[in-house]
């Protein structure tokens, strides 16, 4: 069970959280102005990287807030958690990232 550092509640067990997918995929300002290709990418295209991943979590069974996190998908260690609207922190790309 992961230990996740909620920016509002501190370190809490994974059970309290709900994973909410890749972060920083902003909803287009004018969806109707988008072609099917671009809209399809927005709906379904995901980076799914092997390495540092910016992702959303919601502290569902806690304070209820959504927040972002940087986690290395090759060892599940968190490099950072940060509030919605904050910039993605600069952290070093981990060893072994993107190795197929």
């Amino acid at each position: 069970m992961l230990l996740i550092d909620c920016p509002f509640c501190g370190k809490r067990p994974e059970l309290e959280f709900r994973y909410a997918g890749e972060a920083h995929i902003a909803r287009p300002a004018d969806p109707s102005g988008l072609g099917d290709e671009a809209w399809g990418r927005f709906l379904y295209g995901r980076g799914n990287p092997r390495g540092m991943h910016a992702e959303r979590w919601r502290h569902l069974n806690g304070c209820g807030r959504f927040f972002n996190a940087l986690r290395d998908t090759t060892d599940d260690r968190f490099a950072a958690t940060y509030k919605i609207g904050e910039e993605r922190p600069m952290v070093a790309e981990p060893q072994g990232a993107r190795k197929a």
Partner: protein, 417 residues
Amino acid sequence: MQKFSALALLRHAFGGHEGWRPQWRSPEPKGTYDVVIVGGGGHGLATAYYLAKEFGISNVAVLEKGWIGGGNTGRNTTIIRSNYLFDESVALYDHAVKLWEALSQALNYNVMFSQRGVIMLAHNVHDQQSLKRHIHANRLNGVDNEWLTASDAKAFCPPLNIENSMRYPVIGAALQRRGGVARHDAVAWGYARAADALGVDIVENCAVTAIRRGVNGALEGIETTRGTIETRKVGVVTAGNTSTVMAMADLRMPLESYPLQALVSEPVKPIFPCVVMSNTIHAYISQSDKGELVIGAGTDAYVSYTQRGGLHVPMHTLEAICELFPIFRRLRMLRNWGGIVDVTPDRSPIIGKTPVPGLYVNCGWGTGGFKATPGSGHLFAWTLAKDEPHPINAPFRLDRFRDGYLIDEAAAAAVAH
């Protein structure tokens, strides 16, 4: 290819089994191939086999970064069934089941396909409506699937608990008698041996590091840890790592990779005659030829490539197993492991061409790829050979996520109301 048979065993016994030759060669990769398959799992090896066997294309290499069958092929719970809802899915999975039924003979390798029947449990009115919808759709598609009352289900699977004291009592079940299990490693090895005999190069410990494209964007070759390979056709079949490989061709896939755990009990004498699945309380179980209870847990909630998950996931699964089969409560977990599953938005696979000419992909099988291995390999081989999809895999194209023609088995199961 050395013929496998009881007689051969007897003959070799006298020679102390010194006479057996390697089941497949260990060649150095050549500089060029007609087709390169990236990924030496069941699907990739099957693709290579059918390319050589059915389409006469044998100048083929299968590149595996580790050891063949070491990914999800060797990590799954080996459940085989075709009782899906939509016509497209049924066609796809039943194509595979038909091939399974003759696979041991076709490969001269006993893959131990055991059609012991797959039961899917209903725990509430909504489950019942959903399973009935599957049953009727399957029947009209000529695929076997029948409704069992709770006591029918108990009769078919005696260890099953159908008491009303359960939190979510069993109110009925759907049974596909043609469903079952197979020996996962044997599938990879059997296809490898047969493909190798037809001239396919199976190259282990060879990872792709780059995909080379020409000025027109078309594929020209690949870079690997064992050198450059020129080829005009590459089929990517790297379940769990598809996004990473496709990123080498600058493609952003509609995929997320999740850890999937499974476990086995210590071996016991035969006690469990079939496969039982409950999607509502998350439990999948069968008994292997060796006597181990083979149990599937759910995926962990987050994207990860660690091939390991949290303790709470197998705990949740065993809560369900013990609730459904109280006589197993004293059995013991022997081994737990994790795989990486590529999950698409509609929980259906992608088999076909990509925007990059010469690059083909077969991925997104989620937690259910093993059952499709022969069909998937055959259809992908067709697509690679003819540069167009077979009618069965045509609907499973990549651009359905642009147009919205999803084949949404998950959504069709809908939610409780």
